[in-house]
Structures are given as C-alpha cells and as structure tokens.
C-alpha cells in the first residue's frame, strides 16, 4: 500500500506499517453510522477546528441540526 492510497475513498484500511500506523489503537467506531435527517450535532469550541467542522457538516448534511457552543466572543487565535 503506498501513501497515496490512504487518501482514496471506500478502502478504510490503514496499513499497520504505513505512515499513520500510530492510529490503529482506537477502534473505528462510527463507520456506517452516518448522521440522519433531524439528528443533532453539537460542537464545543469554535476557533481553528470547530468552525470548519460546523460549516462542512452543514454543507454536506443540510438536514441535520448543528449547534456550536463557544465561550469566547472572538474567533481568532495565533
């Protein structure tokens, strides 16, 4: 398996000797458990990662309910 094949869809196989071998410890838990219409995604934090997660979720799954909860008034971090 070369590195490029890690980026393809549908395979879902992680080469234990490959460049992401450190990940294999955790069970792949939600494959086949896609979010359905009306389900609720709650995101805690909205800076580098929470904002993009919310926007992508809404773009790919417009029928789900997305809520971001953030403590800060601002979005920018360095």
């Amino acid at each position: 398996m070369d590195h490029c094949s890690l980026f393809t869809r549908g395979g879902g196989v992680i080469d234990p000797e490959g460049p992401i071998r450190g990940f294999e410890k955790l069970r792949t838990t939600i494959k086949g458990d896609d979010m359905k219409k009306g389900e609720r995604l709650v995101i805690v934090g909205c800076s580098g990662s929470g904002g993009p997660a919310a926007m992508m979720a809404k773009k790919l799954m417009p029928e789900i309910d997305v809520t971001i909860i953030r403590k800060e008034e601002f979005f920018i971090v360095r």
């Binding site: 590195h3 992401i20 450190g22 709650v42 992508m56 809404k58 773009k59 309910d65 971001i68």
Partner: protein
C-alpha cells in the same frame, strides 16, 4: 456567517458533558442534547511555573483579548525594556512587530533556552542568517540561556533573572513557550487520553462512539515517524474539523498525520518549514543527507530580485525526502514549502526531485536553472554517490 448558514451559535461556557445521556451543560443553565459531539476545545498558552509569572506586565499571546491587553499596556505604561521569553514563531513575530512599530522606542531582548531562534523550525545553518538579520534590525537575541525568575516592584515586572545570575531590565515580558491542550471536559467524561491530548483515530473518532475531536486539543501522529506529537497548528485543526464532518456524512477519508508545516514573517523575512529538521531526523534515528541552496525570487536580471534559501533533508537509506526549510527575503518563494510538503506526503526520493520542473516566469520565480528544489536534490544525490 455561521448563523447565515443555519448553524446555531451559542456563546456560553460548557461546564459538563454527560456522555451517558449525550447532553452538554452550559454555565447559563442551558442543556444541549446531541446525537454526535465534536470537541474542538483548543489549547491555552503555557506559562512556566517560575517566580514572578503573575506580575503585571507579564503577557502571553493567544487570541484577540490578549492582543488588546498588550495594546492597552503599551499605550498606558509605555514600557521601554521588553523581554520575550522563548524564540518560537509567536515570540519572534511579537518582537519584530514591536520593533517595526516603534524602531527607536523599545529595547527588545529575546531569550531562548536552545542554541538558536526558531529551534523547532530551523536547523542552526538556516537559523544563523535569520539571527544575523534580526540582530541587524536591532533585536538582542540571547540563546542557550535559562530564565530563573521574574523580579518586580509594587506588583509590576521590572526584570528577568537568568540562571547565570544576570538580571535584565524588563518593564514588559512576553512568555510564549508553547501551549497546552484544553482537555478537562474530555478527561471528566473518561475519554482515552494520549501524552499530547485526546486520543483519536485517523477519522477523528475518540474512544466514545458518539464523540469526535480535533484541533489543538487532540494528540496527532507525525506522518514520518508514526509517533504521537502535539501538532498544535492551525492547518491540521482546520483540516481535522472538515474531516470529522465528512466522517459523520459517511465519507471514508483518513487523516495522514502531521508534518508540522508552518510559517512566520519577521520584518521582510519569511520563514517556512515542514517535516523533520536535520537535527530532529537524526534524533529519530535517520541517517541524514541534506543540502542547502541559495536562490532568487526572480530572474537575476529582473529589478527587485530578493535572495532566498532552501534546505532539504533526506533519509540516506531510503533516499526519501524528510523535511524542508525556507528562509526568504520575499514572501512568494516561501510558498514553495507546500511543494516540499506534497513531496514528503507522496514519498518522493531525491532522484524523483531532480526531475521536478517548476512553473517559472522571470518576474515571479528564479530561472529554471536556479530552481532550488531540483538543485538541492541533485546535491544530495551526489553526496550519497560520493559516500
């Protein structure tokens, strides 16, 4: 923007998560049930536990409120002697911005425990010209020295004492020596933790099947070494956020790991780096071959040409590219670091790189014969051939 997309935005502090009932509680009394939860709790500046770290005038920089606090302090207290502890990119950017804003107004000293500025991004041979440039701009850079304590008077910082016993005058101190992941909520609900944050798999899934996490609060895996790493940079945070959403939508795309690719700008100098430095690659057990090449931002005959420098680091055994560093006096060449990143992710070797042809134009890049990625690869190949 978020609200316009139909996303509910709640400004409140999450105080507790009940993972069994799949509910989030906030300080205002509200509760938010979820089917899936994404934790993006970020990180906070690490303040070393040294005497005097709570004195007025001791600052960190992370977000906008910090920047506003700094601006107010500068306007009201008019500090003269400024000391930046740590020579990472945040510290160096603060120092250079202050010097640029008020060239004769501040005496700025940067203190670094290691032997060079930007020690995590650059090897010494690449850091030396940066140091020379910054010292030419008036910054005082002290490396290989440790801060013992901060001294003060009437609750306000007045000095920085080094382990040598020397005390530097300081009426404002910046402490930027890294960040720590915000993991309290995750710890409270018993998510599996790694050394550098919440443990996730390549799909951003945590040990709870209904909770994903990403960004600064999670532990990353280094793409090259396969070892856990903090990887607390904006690039991976954004990509991991999008990737988690894709996973929830049924996509099957794995995060490949991080290369700690990053950049910073100080005065007119731009620095960018990706992958392993020669020093770190050696520490990781690689037998390393490297090459440094000086290049030009434009064709040598075009007015406005600025010099830039590239270093590539290869594994001598597999001949694969491990890392790259750029020091440039123009902004545009620094983006070539993204090509270096792509080559590392693609597992390219020094031989592969010798045939790399860049999109060149006399006004926007060096002439093809001075394309430094190709030249560095050729030099490395020659070093290997010559033993």
């Amino acid at each position: 923007m978020l609200a316009g997309m139909g996303i509910h935005v709640v400004q409140d502090e999450v105080t507790r998560i009940d993972a069994a009932r799949k509910t989030v509680f906030v300080s205002g009394g509200g509760t938010y049930p979820y089917d899936k939860l994404y934790l993006a709790t970020g990180s906070s500046s690490f303040v070393p536990p040294i005497e005097g770290n709570d004195l007025a005038g001791v600052m960190t920089l992370r977000g906008l409120p910090d920047a506003e606090k700094i601006k107010t302090y500068l306007a009201e207290k008019k500090p003269k002697h400024i000391v930046c502890i740590g020579a990472g990119f945040i510290s160096m950017e603060i120092a250079s911005l202050l010097a640029e804003t008020n060239p004769d107004g501040f005496a700025i000293t940067v203190i670094e425990l290691m032997d060079r500025p930007l020690p995590l991004m650059l090897d010494k041979d690449m850091s030396d010209p940066v140091r020379e440039y910054l010292e030419g701009k008036g910054l005082h850079i002290r490396t290989g020295v440790k801060v013992e304590k901060l001294t003060g008077q009437d609750g306000k910082v007045t000095g920085v004492t080094l382990s040598s016993g020397e005390t530097l005058d300081a009426d404002m101190v910046f402490m930027n020596v890294g960040v720590r992941p915000n993991t309290q909520l995750a710890t409270d609900i018993g998510l599996e933790m790694g050394r550098f944050g919440i443990k996730v798999n390549a799909y951003q899934e945590t040990s709870d099947p209904h909770i994903l996490a990403g960004g600064d609060c999670v532990e990353k895996i280094n793409f090259i070494t396969g070892k856990p790493t903090p990887g607390q940079l904006r690039g991976p945070a954004v990509v991991q956020g999008r990737l988690a959403a894709k996973r929830l939508a049924g996509y099957d795309i794995a995060f490949p790991g991080v290369l700690d690719a990053g950049g910073c700008k100080m005065f007119d100098m731009t620095i960018a780096a990706t992958g392993l430095t020669e020093e770190n690659a050696t520490k990781e057990g690689f037998t390393v071959v490297s090459a440094v090449v000086d290049s030009r931002s434009k064709h040598g005959m075009i007015p406005g040409m600025k010099p830039w420098k590239l270093k590539l680091v290869f594994d001598k055994n597999t001949r694969k590219l491990l890392g790259g560093q750029i020091v440039s006096q123009a902004i545009a060449p620094a983006r070539e670091i993204d090509a270096v990143t792509a080559f590392i992710l693609g597992g390219k070797t020094m031989a592969d790189l010798t045939t790399f042809t860049s999109a060149c134009n006399p006004d926007i890049s060096s002439e093809p014969s001075a394309e430094p990625i190709t030249i560095a690869a050729e030099q490395a190949l020659q070093k290997v051939r010559n033993g």
